[in-house]
Symmetry: D2
């Protein structure tokens, strides 16, 4: 019998999670796996678990059924019409694995109860491994006042030491799961949290998936660098609606996002003028439009420009990457990889323990690691 791997989603009823779960089900029914990088021929024969071996569950704070979310995403043009009827059974299975997140109390108790949910998921579904992925809303930056796992362990008797994302990460580690942060939230940023993962012998990765504007930046910026064309200013405006947009309408959450978005540009091109705006435009629904304007010089200082407009649906770009990250993290668990997974930098705006932002080099690194057994 094939072994099965659990994918535990923090934010299991959000747009990204729902698209991931519905999409994985759609693939079983023969829809081609567009956007799933690990399905490219280059990744064949690398020991990655098959996509249909993934079993979904997760935590969320809301109770809206997945089927309802699928309906909403279908009318918003994110999921194809007619899919809902095809995947009713798959949704019902995932629905049974979603737990409403318990609230309040000391954070060590909360972590304990959440880890228990993950362990129960593993047992109930007979899973060989579990990979936890954070696809919940972006949090505001959060200052964690401790610097070691030991200190953290003590501090957790109090409430509010950690933001929700870090609580989730610790719950994953307590349950023996790998952890990947798809968002720019605090989660595994504190050294104490990373130390905790290492003590448990587990891998972690992230952060902030690059699905649109930053993805394009990560190939255009190296182009300017390779051609020795000085970039003077890079300005960007992102318009988005939907739940993600509403979250980012909060300037503190947007700050987390902007810091993460801008890191790569500075590391690829050095100091460059220009702002990045993230505007919540409710009528855009689940769609996002980004406009970027790049001012650069050619020979003898002649000024030139490149502009691009990206129009995409973030959930539909994100979901196949969640599937990739689940498979790749399961492989890391198999190989006993402990600590940061910098070879996943291909997927992230703010790649953990890596300063490489150029997409083609990140791709090569990912492929090299995947094939390296």
């Amino acid at each position: 019998m094939t072994r099965r791997v659990g994918v535990w989603l923090f934010g299991a009823r959000g747009s990204v999670a729902t698209t991931t779960i519905a999409g994985a089900a759609a693939l079983h029914h023969g829809i081609p796996p567009a956007g799933v990088v690990t399905e490219l021929p280059a990744f064949a024969g690398t020991g990655l678990i098959p996509l249909d071996a993934l079993v979904f569950g997760g935590h969320d704070v809301v109770e809206t059924p997945l089927a309802k979310q699928v309906e909403r995403l279908t009318s918003g043009g994110v999921l194809p019409p007619g899919l809902d009827r095809l995947i009713t059974a798959d949704l019902a299975e995932a629905e049974r694995n979603i737990v409403v997140l318990p609230a309040g109390g000391p954070q060590n108790e909360l972590i304990g109860r959440m880890a228990e949910d993950i362990r129960a998921f593993r047992l109930r579904n007979d899973l060989s491994q579990v990979v936890a992925i954070n696809v919940a809303s972006t949090e505001a930056p959060y200052d964690v006042p401790v610097t070691s796992a030991a200190e953290l362990r003590e501090a957790l008797a109090l409430p509010d030491v950690l933001p929700a994302s870090s609580v989730g990460a610790l719950a994953a580690f307590e349950a023996g799961a790998a952890y990947v942060d798809f968002t720019p939230s605090t989660s595994i940023r504190p050294a104490a949290v990373r130390e905790w993962a290492v003590e448990k012998g587990l891998p972690y990765g992230g952060q902030d998936a690059k699905t649109g504007e930053t993805l394009v930046k990560s190939v255009l910026a190296p182009m300017f660098a390779a051609r020795a064309l000085p970039v003077h200013a890079w300005s960007g405006t992102n318009l988005l609606g939907g739940g993600d947009g509403a979250t980012l309408a909060d300037p503190r959450a947007a700050e987390s996002k902007s810091i993460s978005k801008e890191r790569g540009l500075a590391e690829m091109l050095g100091e460059v003028a220009g702002d990045v705006h993230i505007d919540y435009v409710d009528p855009m629904g689940d769609w996002k439009t980004a406009w970027d304007h790049v001012l650069f010089s050619g020979f003898l200082g002649v000024r030139m420009t490149l502009q691009f407009t990206w129009q995409g649906c973030d959930s539909a770009l994100a979901a196949p990457l969640v599937l990739d990250l689940a498979r790749l993290s399961a492989l890391a668990l198999d190989r006993g990889h402990v600590g940061a997974m910098p070879f996943l930098g291909f997927y992230f705006k703010d790649p953990i323990e890596s300063t490489e932002h150029a997409l083609p080099r990140q791709y090569d690194e990912l492929l090299r690691w995947t094939r390296s057994c």
Copy 2:
């Protein structure tokens, strides 16, 4: 005493040649070498000849003095105001090395006379080597009726066996010069011409420098491929004025260009719908605007788009690449490289004897070759 290398330009009074000559002079006067790839730190210590060791000459059919061309390019915003006064002496020196192209007669005689011009240039300027680069106007496609160097040698007693670009290439080879084609013209396409170069023990490279729209394509197309995002259609419109635009207003010349432009996309992404237009818009002067529209799918077939607008000045993008190609070809001559130089693919839309079009891989290959001594 430092050795000096000759750069023999076919089309020596055109916009690209003039910008190259004026620009090289400007660099001697301290203007930073923006756009010169071989000046990047990665290329330091690789035995490339210094930029100020380059001496310029060439053939052209027109007699307008370089200084006049510099004036025109300055008022068109291609060259910075005030440069002309700085570089008067440099222009005069190059002027002395430009020969008005002889017309008519059997092509073998023409080749002989042109080779003699190149040899005289070398002797007069005490040059250790000469590199010939074709920056003349794009020709219409041309059918060369012979398949070997031997057959070609015989056929050349007749007129019009070869187009002007191939005549120039043979003249370069006869004079012991390396040859690089910056355009999509016929030049070294015929097997017979390549065989001729090999018989003479000389390197050749090209074709059709990627300076704008195609450059951007060569990083965006691999991005879609690496992310497993199917591209359905890629459409492009190029608006340009100036001499290059006027040439390409001739549908036959535009055909050479379009074939060359479209090759890469097909090799990077397979069959993709969409046309590429090259429009002559006289009031654009030396400036070019390209708009590209890419229709692709995300997960589950959701349609998305990427558009970009590139606004640049072709001559100012091309000139520093001419300097690069001169230095790199001189290095190839030094190393005794014979035949095609596929490691120069980084610079070309239609890289000779190479099917690699992804810019980052081309850059790595270039760097590897340059450092490999």
Copy 3:
């Protein structure tokens, strides 16, 4: 009892016709009349017939049922999901009024039979008037060899004197219907056809509805004129799929379109450089993207640019205008208007018997005429 007006569509099963019929039905069910200009408050109380008094029928060469077309347009995102179930009865009613176009024979007989179809439609549905609107595929330009109605009457004993669009126009006139051409086809262009309408005492209007790129041009061009900013070049690229795109992939049909598109610009701005491309991009489906690039001068000749990208669905932009034109032409019939209707220029790229292309002036003229009773 309210009087009812017939709308006879040539091309009754095409995308525009289907969207019009389905949309009119949707409005009965409470969907707001976005895009229907005659529903603006300014048009209230002007004696226009209510939208629900319109009854649809028409000719087509294909037999695919309307319901099938509605399904196709729904999956292409032109019609909202769920609409089909709401309007089943309305579609069935229109279906009964669609006649498969008879083929072959002398054109006078064909005109006779088609006029008979229109008269039967009027009787069967108890209609006070009929307005015929051509929404069939764009034809290639067609040279009609006669110059008066009298000559034409004689020539019609032969086949192929007129293109299909003009045959339709004459059938409409024979049946006492007003006629409006939504396309750039030949239809009412020949003087002989117009004379025929006048002899019958009927109004006609057109041509080539402005729904996208040309609509935007018709407000931007007057802006440059009003601000005394000289426009040097105006270039445009239109990407479209669907049936309309496939038709326009034929260069001869595209020629009709381009002539019509370019007329306004010349009349608004004088001689301006730049081409207009119409590219068939099959994967675009029913959607169209137009990119325009305008090069103009400010004070002292400084060059500046305006670019725009329009992304729309032609059928969804066209359908409400068909409803407008039906109501307005019915009003013209009521008022006994004979001959050209230049006051409908607001709707057209190539307004019949008018040289006014500036949208705001056209709007004012339309409103003035509508209110003038």
Copy 4:
């Protein structure tokens, strides 16, 4: 002898003023008057004073000579190369008429001294009239604590009752000059200032010239309205460098600008989502790029978009309008017009005492008024 009219510029050494003065001089030397609306044939024979009857002077806080500013604008591509040599005498004449703005002291004294400067300008140059135009940097919003001219007169014994722009307006009125505000500053916004103008029997107009993004909006928004297409969101990003950009990098000055920019959209389309950003991007120099994204619905609620990118040089767009406003205000003085000049709304984002923002209607109103004698 022809009568001459004085143009007194607040901010007389800024980019707009310098371009105006240099440009007016260039027109005397035969450069065509691109962008000067009142030179359109429609305005011929309306009694406007000839352009070469305008004499320039003004106040500024800086002492950099005009000739220096012209040099800077020439190297930034705003003024054509070679112009400086042509207009040396004209610049010297204007230079003599520029007064360094006195600082400090009670505001009534300051107003007195400034009015004296304007009167001296008139006498010295034998001018029949003077028109004062504010082209100084945009101020932050300012709360003026009085509501009538009488109260204001008393309060002016104190310092800082009024911002600099209002002080300038009062000085103009005291000197018997018309006043037009080209900026969104406070100037004539307070009722007390307007009352003061009326008491003096003088005309005033403004505010905030529409030269780029807002100009385009003022024709596109009426297009959507006329076509009954609901606009859901209109988002804009403006990138600009130069002095204007540096001023607007101050969020309080940007606030004045944004309020002014957004007023028209709301009055043309009602409530619409979306933000407007004004980003200071120093390397843009005197150039501005605006990107706007409009999300609207077609028939049956189908979502569509229009995007535009405007790339212009604000000073070169503004200067000819300053010439227009000078001539038109001189005509208003001639006619004895007292109080607000709403017929100048064509020029402004925030037209004083007018709610009409649609450019074509504003143009018609301007023309009607100009011809109405």
